[in-house]
Amino acid sequence: MAARVGVVTFPGSLDDRDASRALRLVGAEAVALWHKDRDLHGVDAVVLPGGFSYGDYLRCGAISRFSPVMGSVVEAAAAGLPVLGICNGFQILCESHLLPGALTRNDTLHFVCRDQRLRVESTGTAWTSDFTVGDEIVVPLKNGEGGYVADERTLDELEAQGRVVARYVGGNPNGSRRDIAGIANAAGNVVGLMPHPEHAVESLTGPSTDGLAFFTSILATLVGM
């Protein structure tokens, strides 16, 4: 039976369709989840997609954090459910305290939209096991508030525990501390990523197909669970 991966739609989500498509391309069943529905419908993993949920009002992800579906996601993630937050999804994971730190306005003040080179730094997560440490990949990056910040102690801890998942290469686009593009929780089931692997899954529309490995990784993880 195909792995069932939920993709949450919040009011203002943009990339839920692309995330679902990426999941289908690797052979998973994409299950649409709704922000007002607490029920996760028995999915094996969850993707929180990019966009501008609740209009980015207050702070990016601050309102989404308290949506009914997130109550269930936070609970399930603590019990080991794999969760990938992309862009706005990463912001929601930080606001939910599933991941440490916060995402702040780009230091350039400009919205960044470009194909971004990344280096994969950790393959010990549910979403990166199909990579090799040191792999350089190119996926789209598009954000206005993607500057990752955390205090020095937290940053040191992330580095020491191998929880920096990906780093920007060839220039830091948004002022993220230590060029961090993505991080994981201590258990490795929750990953937040500012760039968009779901936009790099087909050569027709993406700069590469490098993003596919995030989605094949979760399938491999679920088979092994």
């Binding site: 207050l58 702070r59 930080c94 440490p100 916060a102 910040v149």
Partner: protein, 81 residues
Amino acid sequence: MARVVVDVMLKPEILDPQGKAVHGALDRLGFAGVTGVRQGKRFEIEVDGPADDDLAARADQMAQTLLANLVIEDYAVRVEA
């Protein structure tokens, strides 16, 4: 009816690019002597009931739970009658 005012500011060590842009604009407009600008948020919350310690405590909870992200922001609560 009581009113609570909550001010939320980025912590001093967090870069505030918006404040820097405002600072630059003030300079360009010829306002001399500006040495720094930090931009924050102000919430004015109308509440039923008296302006008492209980309200102050509830407002503090609102700030901690939702209005401020304590990873990057500080807040100050003020209860007005």
